[in-house]
């Protein structure tokens, strides 16, 4: 579905690299999570897929076609894009935000209206009470649901997500992660998601791609990573969630005893 071949990005003419010689394949209907700390190149990698950032070298193929040969505007309309909550347009109502891409694609009014209703139901928002509100009047979780609805509006097969749960409080985050995972499986979406939170990656991903200093150090399923991480940096990243899980288990055993 998405393939990156030897992709590099340098902002200073090749002195330093934000992303270096990355090879990555995302399978259809797979949820792939890229994990790394800030500056690891994970967001740059994500943005090269919909050409918000142009690679310095290498090739990216989406749906069998090299993105450098696709019209960027067309490409982006076919790919859903979710950012942290600030990505909603503050001067538009919730409904208008969701309808942005269908409108750009020139759908007729009736069709857009029906689609918006469906999307509200899909992301679990009550259309009647939310349609005409502005983003500033919503909670963080509600805003992120609107963000999902907007990204899904034109029925994309692929979705790119940049720290989608980053700004949410822990309780909301857990619920939304779970719901999103269900939605992704139901719609058979191919998703690339970026996060710095390894626990989140372990809980939602089909596969996890660990990046460090612009390079991929390991790609593996969550369980492989937990049990047999090869690269020392990847092993270090899973240590903390593992310890938390062990501690929780110990606690629940202690109280159960």
């Amino acid at each position: 579905m998405i393939r990156l071949r030897n992709v590099s990005k340098s902002y200073d003419g090749g002195l330093t690299f934000a992303v270096r010689e990355v090879d990555l394949e995302v399978r259809p209907a797979e949820l792939l999570v890229i994990v790394g700390e800030s500056g690891s190149g994970k967001t740059t990698t994500l943005k090269m897929i919909n050409r918000l950032v142009e690679p310095t070298s290498g090739m990216i193929v989406v749906d069998g076609k090299s993105v450098s040969e696709s019209d960027p505007v067309d490409l982006r309309r076919r790919i859903g894009y979710v950012l942290q909550e600030v990505g909603l347009f503050p001067h538009m109502t919730v409904e208008e935000n969701v309808a942005v891409v269908p409108e750009l694609l020139g759908w007729d009014r009736e069709e857009i209206h029906r689609r918006v209703e469906d999307l509200f139901a899909l992301v679990g928002l009550d259309a009647g009470s939310f349609r005409l509100r502005y983003p500033a009047e919503l909670s963080g979780g509600q805003r992120q649901r609107v963000g999902f609805a907007r990204a899904l509006a034109a029925g994309p097969r692929i979705m790119l997500m940049d720290e989608p749960f980053g700004a949410l409080d822990p309780i909301t985050r857990g619920g939304l992660q779970f719901e999103f995972r269900r939605m992704q499986q139901q719609l058979r979406l191919t998703v690339v998601m970026v996060t710095h939170d390894m626990m989140e990656a372990l809980l939602v991903a089909d596969r996890i791609c660990v990046m460090e200093k612009g390079q991929i150090v390991e790609v593996a399923t969550p369980s492989e990573l937990l049990t047999q991480a090869v690269h020392p940096y990847a092993a270090a990243l899973v240590r903390s969630p593992k310890e938390q899980a062990d501690r929780l288990e110990a606690l629940s055993k202690a109280s159960g005893a």
């Binding site: 505007v73 600030v86 990505g87 347009f89």
Partner: protein
Amino acid sequence: MNFEENLGEQLQLLPDYLAHHMLLTASALLLSIAVCLPLAFLVVRVRSLQWPVLSFASVMQTVPGIALLALMVAVLGQIGFVPALGALVLYSMLPILRNAVTGLTGVDASIVEAATGCGMTRGQTLFRVQLPLAAPVVIAGIRTSAVWIVGTATLSTPVGATSLGNFIFSGLQTQNSLAVIVGCVSAAGLAILLDQAIRLLELSWRARNRVLRTAVAVAMLAGFGAGLSPLLSRQPASEASSIVVGAKTFTEQYILAQVIKRTVEREGIPVRTRTGMGSTVLFEALASGSIDCYVDYTGTLWANILKRGEIAPGREMLQEISDWLTEHYGIHLIGTLGFENTYALAMPRQRAVELGIATIGDLSRHAPELRMGSDYEFYGRPEWAGLRDRYGLAFRELRSFDPTLMYAAVHEGEVDLISAYSTDGRILLYDLQVLADPLGALPPYDAVVLLSGSAARRSDLVQALGGLLGFLSEDAVRRANKMVDLDGASVAKAADFLLSEVAAKKKAIEP
């Protein structure tokens, strides 16, 4: 003139001045928006252009409005609406540009990225996201500009564009403070109205209420149309055959323009006046045919237009000026009105009698004990150098005053004599003796009627004006000036007086 009469006279002028002012203001504002918004989009995208473009707008802002207007006249080679419009657009760019750039660059980068990520083109991102989000700041800039334009447009009177400034300029010159107040109050009112109208338009837009939006737009258009209606109802036919009489910015000129207007209208030729124009602007306007007629003075033309330094005898000077103007500009000098408005040395009559002074020649004996007062420029002019050298004048003290204070100063004995303007009404008020110039050291400043080439070809016009030539005495003009400057009479009244003087003189010489 009593208050009601004066107010009535001013208010009668209001619809026409207001309509011109509104047309000028609205055109300048719309043009400025049309230029500045695309320019703002450009410099937001091409950062390297930001500094030069904003600096240019800042520089335009620092040029005094009146200087910018005069420069536009020189650059465009014409007077009236177009140069005024150009100057106002240049003058009003900065707030619109600066606010638009600030507003557009201030939009959260992540929102712009979201727009791009959704698949919006650059244009769609600009119009659907950046511009709506920047709108409050952009509109604040437009409102600032609108108020500036309304205010600055009052300065377009001296370049020949009719505006509410006509009240202010003529009022200041003819000591009619009511006219000044009418001009200021209507300009201020217009500024507030326009500002609030833009605000209302913005609010109705933001309310997303189609009915309200339409209602506000219709109301604004109706108000604007009503304001402009005096312009629309004007007969274009009369415009074509009418002539335009210009006037400089002092009382005598306002009165003479009225006198000419009445005289010519009596022959069935429609006349419009363009008063309160700068001296050189007026000459350029005549040369280009934007106006048809005005009164100038030989000494002024000699020094400022012919650029001659030496002083020639009156008759020779007149002939030379006349030939030169026709040859170089196609302007016709049809004759002198009969009076001079020249520099003249004057002192209180009683004092002159005491000292036995009747001419400038008599002054030299007493000069070492006398103090002289003058306006700011006189001591730097060739007239003074000529006087001083020809008569050997060495006064005890030379002082400079504002022209209006100079007369009071000589009256109150602060100085012993002044360089007066020979037709100033205050010579009569303070009973000053004008000293004769037997050596002819002061150049002649004969009032002459100038016609543009096309106006000079109209025999009816030339004949009508011929009836005035030689019939205006210095004394009569001085009295007319005094009526306006000191007795609070209207310009129209003073013109009536001069016309009756002309008629009386004609009767006296007719058999």
